[in-house]
């Protein structure tokens, strides 16, 4: 593991520990009150969810067209993180929605396309695990289609009639809300980088194991 890893883990831990205090200090929202504070973790995890899908897509494209095993390992790790952060988004969202909208779930564009993107990431993991030989390329092809979904998820909320807040909310946030939010965004981005590095390390060790098995056969 690289030298920067452990120090940054410590930084991430401290930042996460500090985030609830910043969030508690942020003002309440006029119509939604206390439950709106879920926003400070829901939005960063949504951004990391989409970012992870993009990383997976780009790595998959580079793997398909370049054949580099390093890119394949990166894609696998990113897919797993897409499932992880997608799960966070899809649980924190409904918890917020139950109070703010009165329902747990709505089949609007934003929620449906996010759920769909999450399922594509799950499908990637299933293919990698159960697809047999050649499944790395199969999954890479799938990841490319999944990446095409990401811009749609983001802009859909601005062009379709939906109850989900529009993307204009973030640029127009008041300063004290913005502070809590961007701090949380920094937390989650750092966490994403660290988890990605850790997961890629696991893939590297697996590759090392495979190479050892192969040399044993010779």
């Amino acid at each position: 593991m690289p030298k920067w890893f452990l120090p940054l883990v410590a930084v991430a831990a401290v930042m996460f520990a500090a985030s609830p205090f910043l969030i508690a200090n942020a003002p309440y929202e006029a119509t939604m009150g206390l439950v709106q504070k879920i926003f400070y973790y829901h939005l960063p995890s949504a951004w990391v969810f989409l970012l992870s899908a993009i990383v997976c897509g780009i790595a998959s494209a580079r793997f398909l067209f370049g054949g580099s095993p390093r890119q394949d390992r990166l894609a696998y790790a990113a897919a797993e993180l897409t499932v992880l952060f997608g799960a966070i988004v899809l649980v924190t969202g409904p918890l917020w929605a139950r109070k703010a909208w009165g329902v747990w779930w709505q089949w609007d564009v934003r929620l449906t396309s996010s759920l769909m993107g999450w399922m594509v990431a799950w499908a990637y993991l299933l293919v990698r695990k159960y697809g047999g030989p050649g499944s790395d390329k199969l999954a890479a092809g799938l990841a490319l289609f999944g990446m095409a979904n990401v811009p749609f998820v983001y802009i859909s909320v601005n062009y379709w009639r939906t109850i989900h807040p529009a993307t204009s909310v973030v640029p127009t946030l008041p300063v004290d809300m913005g502070l809590a939010l961007w701090f949380a965004v920094a937390c989650f981005l750092l966490l994403f980088v660290l988890l990605l590095r850790l997961r890629v390390y696991l893939e590297e060790q697996r590759a090392r194991l495979d190479a050892l098995y192969l040399s044993l056969d010779e």
Binding site: V127, K137, L138, G141, F145
Partner: protein, 224 residues
């Protein structure tokens, strides 16, 4: 390149016409789907609202998955896919040929399914034939574009029968949603053509994205 695609299509149609195995089994399966939904959802002789649109597209999706699986299973058994790939033909052309074959098969199934659904669910599906055809065609192309790519990729994979739906359904959700919304809009007593036009435009955009992605990735995905 168009010539190659046409040759592939002709070959597939010739093989299929000889036994019509895939056509009959797909059609029967799609009809049973529709009947299943009819039995499950009809209450006191009345179908649920908007039910016809959804059921039609589910039958197309399920039937299409079956057809895709069977078509490429046939290729696998006679090792013709490897032969095709070894031939000095442009890979994307092979994909286009296969895609057109699947679309033709699904359109043939839809010609039977649409009247059946209209009859069973008392839905005025045949009131705007031009727009319905546009919706069905663009939706089928979108579904088949992704389906052909994934089935071709899965030919040499393990658990390919289970993996095709796992890969295909999440990606084709936008196509199915657009298809169902457009069809449902056409079934309204006073049809909003602007809404239908919107969904068809979205379907065309999706088709363009999917076919482009498929053409781009077919070559590296099919090479060992």
């Amino acid at each position: 390149m168009i010539r190659t695609a046409w040759l592939v299509l002709k070959k597939d149609l010739t093989v299929e016409v000889r036994s019509l195995e895939i056509a009959y089994t797909t059609l029967f399966f799609a009809i049973s789907c529709v009947l299943f939904f009819a039995f499950a959802l009809v209450k006191e002789g009345k179908a649920p609202e908007d039910g016809a649109a959804g059921i039609l597209w589910i039958a197309i999706a399920f039937g299409g998955t079956l057809a895709l699986g069977r078509t490429f299973e046939r290729e696998r058994q006679s090792e013709t896919l490897r032969a095709l790939l070894m031939a000095p033909a442009a890979r994307p052309a092979i994909y286009v040929g296969k895609l057109l074959g699947i679309v033709a098969l699904l359109v043939a199934a839809e010609i039977v399914l649409v009247p059946l659904v209209a009859f069973l669910f008392q839905a005025p599906l045949l009131s705007h034939p031009f727009w319905l055809s546009a919706v069905l065609l663009t939706g089928t192309i979108g579904f088949a574009a992704v389906g052909t790519l994934f089935s071709a990729m899965l030919v040499r994979a393990r658990s390919r029968d289970v993996l095709l739906p796992v890969l295909l359904y999440p990606i084709t959700v936008p196509v199915i949603i657009a298809g169902v919304r457009a069809t449902a809009a056409l079934l309204q007593p006073d049809v909003e053509l602007a809404l239908v036009r919107f969904w068809v435009a979205l379907l065309i955009a999706l088709d363009a994205v999917f076919v482009t992605l498929a053409l781009w990735t077919f070559e590296p995905l099919m090479t060992d």
